[in-house]
């Protein structure tokens, strides 16, 4: 499987368009207005990735900024071997994980998410109802380590080996986190 | 504190009385109104050693002192009609005087805080005088004076028009004011200080990296640049005066676009630069070492010895 190959389906088509190809070439040459069109074509997918990985809108927006600033800096390294959407997706995952590693709160939680720390148990009745209605809200309430593994594995098709390489945890830990994440979700969604 | 209207009225009414009686009556009235004008305050809470303390204190005076306890103590007097708040827990506290939502001016209060030495302080004020000793953090005032002293980790001071007096020993200090006078003493290792129109006066031997800027205010630096120091002075129309020890070792690069340079340190004369009529001067004093760059647009640059 290719990391994130199935992730940005909605924007993959845009890559092939010659207009976008021109924009990419111009942006690589330093044209900021061309880069703006790249941003507009991909911001939705990048935001969705961030939103699901960190579970918080404000943090996700900050990360969107970081990812596009990083993309600008690294744009010369994009050789067109993968689609631009895939390249941005990989870059985005790296930026997000880097952010989580340097964020003390998440770094601590990433290694040892307590199994019984299921947010739904402590949540108010209203929050439980919201979670039932909204899968994304439930994903957002997962412990961060479990959430990251679930998003990468179940939503973006990463293998446990790939997740292990990206995050620095063991493949077995990734597997265990995934199972926990699914069980948490089931409980929150009242299944 | 200015006399209250009641006090002034009493003074006028007492014009025909004998002087001692007038004085006694006035003093009693002043005491009475003073007691009513402010209410005593004393609070204390447990607070983690490095917890943040966020303070909003619009007017009056506030003093923050570091102490070596894991608690916060607030003492003072709160103006009548004003509301003091203190919220949070051992991991962080917010306190201060509530602003009036209807725009009515807040009356001045006076408080003294003691906070854990490692706590991170944030003080925001409109016109209050802020005095702090031995604490780190951010201090902001629109027009009130700010005085900081003691040993701190990092200090950031911002004001629009207030005077700022920094006598701190700290690894990093950033200070800004617009019209106020900015005075830096103590030993800030890394110092970034700027005014817009107010004078900037630095007298310190401990600065290793310094950046000093103004637009119209005069900058004066008196001290011995540290051996490996890097100093940068910028001014538009204000002067830059460097007062250095006679035995200093330093490399100086001075340039004024349209202004002039006075070298009272050595015999070397500045080079006139055409066409604007400015001047440049490169000075190697002693064995060199610290590097000092001064740039002005039309402000005078003067180098002299103590």
């Amino acid at each position: 499987m290719t990391s994130g190959a199935n992730a940005p389906r909605s924007t993959a088509a845009a890559d092939g368009a010659s207009m976008m190809g021109d924009a990419v070439r111009l942006a690589q040459a330093g044209d900021l207005r061309a880069f703006e069109s790249v941003y507009r074509a991909h911001v939705t997918a990048v935001y969705a990735l961030c939103r699901r990985m960190v579970g918080d809108d404000s943090e996700a927006r900050d990360l969107v900024q970081d990812i596009f600033v990083r993309a600008w800096e690294k744009f010369a390294s994009f050789r067109g071997e993968s689609s631009l959407a895939t390249w941005l997706h990989r870059l985005g995952v790296n930026v997000i994980l880097e952010h989580l590693r340097t964020s003390r709160r998440d770094a601590l939680r990433f290694a040892d998410d307590p199994v019984d720390d299921v947010p739904a148990h402590g949540a108010s009745a209203a929050e439980r109802i919201d979670a039932r209605l909204d899968l994304d809200a439930a994903i957002a309430r997962l412990p961060s380590g479990a959430r990251i593994v679930l998003v990468l594995h179940d939503l973006h098709g990463y293998s446990h080996d790939e997740i292990a390489r990206l995050t620095g945890i063991a493949p077995g830990t990734s597997r265990a986190q995934l199972w926990r994440a699914r069980r948490h979700l089931m409980r929150m969604l009242d299944r | 504190m200015p006399p209250s209207p009641t006090t002034r009225a009493a003074s006028r009414c007492g014009a025909g009385l004998a002087l001692p009686m007038l004085a006694a009556a006035t003093a009693l009235l002043a005491l009475g109104t003073g007691a009513r004008a402010q209410q005593p305050l004393i609070r204390a809470r447990v607070l983690a050693a490095n917890a943040p303390v966020k303070i909003f204190f619009p007017t009056g005076s506030i003093r923050v002192d570091a102490w070596d306890r894991d608690s916060i103590e607030v003492r003072g007097r709160v103006a009548r009609g004003e509301h003091f708040y203190l919220a949070g827990d051992a991991h962080g506290i917010k306190l201060g005087i509530l602003d009036h939502p209807d725009g009515i001016l807040v009356r001045p209060s006076d408080i003294v805080l003691r906070v854990p030495r490692a706590s991170q302080i944030s003080v925001k004020s409109v016109s209050a005088t802020i005095t702090a000793t031995g604490v780190s953090g951010w201090f902001y005032s629109v027009s009130g004076a700010i005085h900081l002293s003691g040993r701190a980790r990092t200090v950031e001071v911002e004001s629009l028009a207030g005077d700022v007096d920094l006598g701190v020993i700290a690894s990093w200090v950033r200070a800004r004011t617009g019209d106020g006078r900015l005075v830096v003493r103590g030993a800030p290792e890394d110092l970034d200080a700027a005014t817009v129109r107010g004078p900037l006066d630095v007298e310190s031997a401990g600065v290793v990296r310094g950046r000093f800027a103004s637009v119209q205010g005069d900058i004066r630096f008196a001290g011995a640049p540290a051996a490996n120091g890097v100093f940068e002075f910028s001014n538009h129309s204000g002067a830059v005066n460097l007062v250095l020890p006679r035995t200093v070792s330093a490399t100086l690069d001075l340039s004024s676009i349209t202004g002039s340079i006075e070298n009272n340190f050595t015999q070397l004369r500045p080079v006139a630069s055409a066409p604007a009529g400015g001047a440049t001067l490169h000075l190697q004093l002693g064995a060199g070492g610290p590097h000092v760059t001064v740039r002005t647009f039309r402000g005078l640059i003067r180098v002299g010895s103590r």
């Binding site: 900050d62 | 028009a161 349209t258």
Partner: protein, 232 residues
């Protein structure tokens, strides 16, 4: 009855269990309603995850706001690469999401500064690389599109600065008259300095000290706008 393991349940649900394991587990499910129900629930969750639409996108204004900040951060980094000025602009442009109008103004000023400094830097390059060489054959020619772009960018940002400063006018009521008077005087002093420096740079575009003074003046303006923002 011995139930199938968590590994087998999850593997059955997401299809990662190997063929032998799958056969044995399926055989068990045929006899065990509890395990069958659990695996069904897991599969339902898998389908729901797979079919779930992406989270709702930020609205248009949020996308614009994000881009404004991204562009400011990129422009700020450009300055660091192009000039010898200290990287103060980078620190000045933050990634904070919801800006007060003064914060936006401050960021735009930073970007305007970046644009102007970039222009200055391009101007400072020699027009020819060798005596008599036409400009179009020199490396400076390759800088021309970037120069034009920076000029465009600077003009656009200056317009935005003016627009935002107009908005600030409407918020003056939040500050006292003394504060606004002081702020006006300070802003005026900085703007006058900037105007003089820019005029001088037109006459002497290669003057490095002028470039540094201009960058410092823009930084002064940025600092002042930020302090004003804190005052309200």
């Amino acid at each position: 009855m011995t139930h199938i393991t968590e590994d087998e349940r999850q593997g059955l649900a997401d299809g990662t269990l190997d063929a032998d394991g799958t056969a044995a587990a399926v055989a068990h499910l045929a006899q065990c309603d509890a395990c069958a129900a659990d695996v069904t629930q897991l599969r339902t969750l898998m389908h729901q995850l797979h079919d779930s639409p992406p989270p709702s996108s930020p609205n248009d204004s949020a996308i614009e706001e994000l881009w404004t900040t991204i562009r400011a951060r990129i422009e700020a980094r450009k300055v660091v690469e192009l000039s010898a000025a200290p990287p103060t602009h980078v620190a000045a442009v933050t990634r904070s999401g919801h800006w007060h109008v003064w914060r936006v103004a401050a960021a735009v000023v930073a970007v305007a500064a970046a644009g102007v400094v970039a222009i200055v830097q391009f101007h400072s390059r020699p027009v020819t690389t060798a005596a008599g060489s036409p400009a179009s054959a020199s490396p400076a020619a390759s800088a021309q599109p970037a120069l034009l772009q920076a000029s465009d960018s600077s003009r656009a940002y200056q317009q935005q600065v003016q627009q935002l400063l107009d908005e600030i006018e409407m918020q003056r009521a939040m500050l006292g008259p003394t504060t606004t008077a002081v702020a006006d005087s300070d802003l005026s002093a900085i703007d006058q300095a900037i105007a003089e420096l820019r005029a001088a740079l037109l006459r002497d575009p290669n003057n490095a000290a002028l470039r540094q003074l201009l960058a410092t003046s823009y930084q002064q303006k940025l600092d002042l706008l930020k302090r004003l923002n804190n005052a309200s």
